[in-house]
Symmetry: C2
Subunit: 440 residues, 2 copies
């Protein structure tokens, strides 16, 4: 992508109403534009990151055997009356009346709707287990939206719903999601710690939040230091195997948000193992048994020919929130530092003197070579000062910067910089390309 | 994908409330489930088609130089008061009040919102031309939603917005979209005919609808037969060249929807060139000049240092509507016939006897070989009657069916069938694979 043909409205000014780093940086880097309280447009750079995160989540859900579909944003109020949540949900639910005076709402979550889909079609235990997910915009009418996309009103969420014949089978579905989440966050360059959590309005008796640590986190979290170093299960995990051990590798250690915090248990840990920090919730999983299948009468025929209520779970990842969360976990005073897997472009290519023919030729050659190697390149060929170009690249935080100017062209080299470390090398284009491919 | 692990609730029954073929077939093939008047869940099979169409549209927009972003579904009423459309739009606009009693709406289109984004950031002619697009859910509160996803209330649309310094530059942007649309529809296996159209509530003085012909089309259309045979510009088109001739190749011929129909002009055509048919609108493009920039004060600095109102156009493709439109244009009495590029899977693999070890082994081998060749395969390994399996495959309309049974295994062959023609061959797996790859 040539920057002159892109839309990247960066700004030097720190916005007055943005209280945390990710919000400030997303505005400054031209990633989002606020269109109302807690409602954002995703400008091209932000949109790219959103889609990269979405795609990682999708791939890890598919790997775990979940099946993608898509539910609408608007729902009928009647379904929520069946479950009893229409009145319970409170003012955070955006209630809507259509032209025929029918009560509708903008879905804040989808347990009712998916249970309705399920009960319409699935009649036999032979069709189980089943895990259906979608990635769709939700709305929660927060009384005080803040922190940019971290606590917006309209937000993009991946929510999955598992259906099982009994509690034991439901536990296996829960474990699959537990492991899939570890892999998904790991691929985004995040260490997400599962913590016992309060189920809140979703209900149920088993629930974990996945928390990443960041100084600006919304809540206090407490955990054993050992949790920071356990590797994710990885792509080779067999999701059809018994995942109990993989889950217990983590649940054996103390970890809790302040809601569930047990001071005595925490203090019993060796001092050097105690981590008391701030955390950001990026995922939340629930097992809630028959909480929805009972009022909504979602039952199936068992192998013995009886009727049984299905056992359910739901599993959320805050896709749009993660964009902010990753920035909170990875930035410096100059700007964002994108982990490779979620970066909007892999390489920023900077021409130091676009009007110099030799430089322009070398830049075009590099642009073609990088693109043909399968890399996403943002090529700054504008007639601007080098200082402004460098500042923009530092701000938007692409993993690699390649700079080409008259001196380098004379010597037959480009300058390659890793954003994360600041390390710089002068080397021929082919070697720079090999370094980028190797570092991914 | 193994069918036993998929979610494909097919049905033999023709739904009573579905009046047209695409609606009936989408329900029967388990592609969608209605969740309310004009509101649908996209079940896994339908979701796959939706994403394939979305991706073709995205690629063709990018090729034409448009830049993707994403605007929210909900908008502030105030922006629509600025343009004057808040009151004009009528009951089709879904109006919403949030917990703080602020007037909002579910976007039926985005001219106001994108103009607000534009005017916030773009100040100079040097940043033009600019074409920003998004693919997002919209809502229009149709008084009588019908025909399934063809006239739903919540629908997925690609809408692009061009910004130019003057009318002449805006015309070039319009021509780019005109050509990009021809390419996008062509890739979906559709012949879309551009017809002069009424701008309706978008406004402006230049507008084309893109219409595909189908007996169940919503409106009468009239055109010169020559238009059915002009090839799309294709991937090699240089979008920076003068596209006037490419556009005039079509606009030289008579083509109009009934709103704009000129009976005398049509009757002046030779009888054998007159096509009077039914059509489905799948895209609509508009040039509206300063209709939005004037009331919303979206101006930029020209190269002479003056201020000038920008000239705008907008360009819509009905992504979710296309799923129904393609089925209307391509089905038979047994079910859907997907064009290759939008098919939910490339191949349906049918095991005639899953419990026979030799058949199971041959099927697994075929499944692996097809998948490794980069094909999307739906593998029916369920213990069901062959007749039911064939009926399902015919109904869901994958381009190729590969059937493996005991006799074929003995002879070392598989049976390969092309859904579109019904042609069947018995041949070794490797040759079948080559035929599929060649036919794509």
């Amino acid at each position: 992508m040539r920057l002159s043909k892109y839309f990247l409205p960066v700004s030097k000014d720190v916005p007055a109403d943005a209280a945390i780093a990710s919000h400030q940086l997303m505005l400054r880097a031209g990633m989002v534009r606020q269109n109302g309280a807690g409602i954002y447009s995703w400008l091209p750079l932000g949109h790219r990151v959103l889609r990269k995160i979405e795609q990682i989540v999708r791939e890890e859900m598919n790997r775990a055997g979940a099946v993608e579909m898509l539910m609408p944003t608007l729902q009928q109020a009647d379904l929520w009356r069946e479950s009893g949540r229409y009145d319970d949900y409170g003012a955070e639910m955006l209630r809507i009346t259509d032209r025929h005076e029918r009560d509708m709402l903008y879905g804040p979550t989808n347990e009712e709707l998916i249970t309705d889909v399920f009960r319409s079609f699935v009649k036999s235990y032979r069709q189980l287990p089943l895990n259906l997910y979608h990635i769709q915009w939700k709305f929660r009418d927060e009384i005080r939206p803040r922190f940019g996309v971290m606590r917006g009103r309209e937000f993009l969420m991946k929510d999955a719903y598992s259906f099982d014949i009994d509690a034991e089978a439901a536990r296996r579905s829960y474990q699959k999601m537990f492991c899939a989440y570890l892999n998904a966050f790991d691929r985004m360059g995040l260490t997400a710690i599962p913590m016992k959590a309060d189920p809140g309005p979703i209900g149920g008796d088993l629930s974990h939040e996945f928390i990443i640590l960041a100084d600006t986190g919304e809540s206090a979290v407490f955990c054993d230091k050992a949790l920071l170093d356990i590797p994710a299960p990885g792509a080779d995990l067999d999701f059809d195997s018994d995942l109990t051990a993989e889950m217990e590798k983590r649940t054996q250690y103390y970890a809790a948000t302040d809601e569930k915090h047990d001071e005595a248990a925490f203090e019993a840990l060796p001092k050097e193992q105690q981590v008391a920090a701030r955390g950001i919730e990026v995922g939340h999983i629930f097992y809630f048994g028959t909480k929805y299948s009972e009022p909504m009468n979602a039952s199936i025929q068992t192998s013995e020919g009886d009727k049984a209520l299905i056992h359910g779970g739901s599993y959320g990842i805050g896709v749009s929130r993660l964009v902010g969360g990753i920035i909170e976990a990875s930035h410096d005073y100059k700007g964002i530092i994108w982990p490779d897997a979620v970066a909007p472009f892999d390489v920023g290519l900077i021409s130091l003197r676009p009007k110099d023919d030799a430089v322009a030729t070398a830049c075009e050659e590099a642009y073609v070579a990088l693109t043909e190697a399968g890399l996403d390149v943002l090529y700054d060929e504008r007639d601007e000062r080098p200082g402004a170009k460098f500042a923009t690249m530092e701000l938007i935080g692409l993993p690699w910067q390649m700079t080409i100017g008259p001196k380098g062209v004379e010597k037959g080299v480009v300058e390659l910089k890793r954003r994360e470390t600041g390390e710089t090398s002068e080397l021929p284009l082919a070697e720079a390309l090999a370094m980028i491919k190797g570092g991914r």
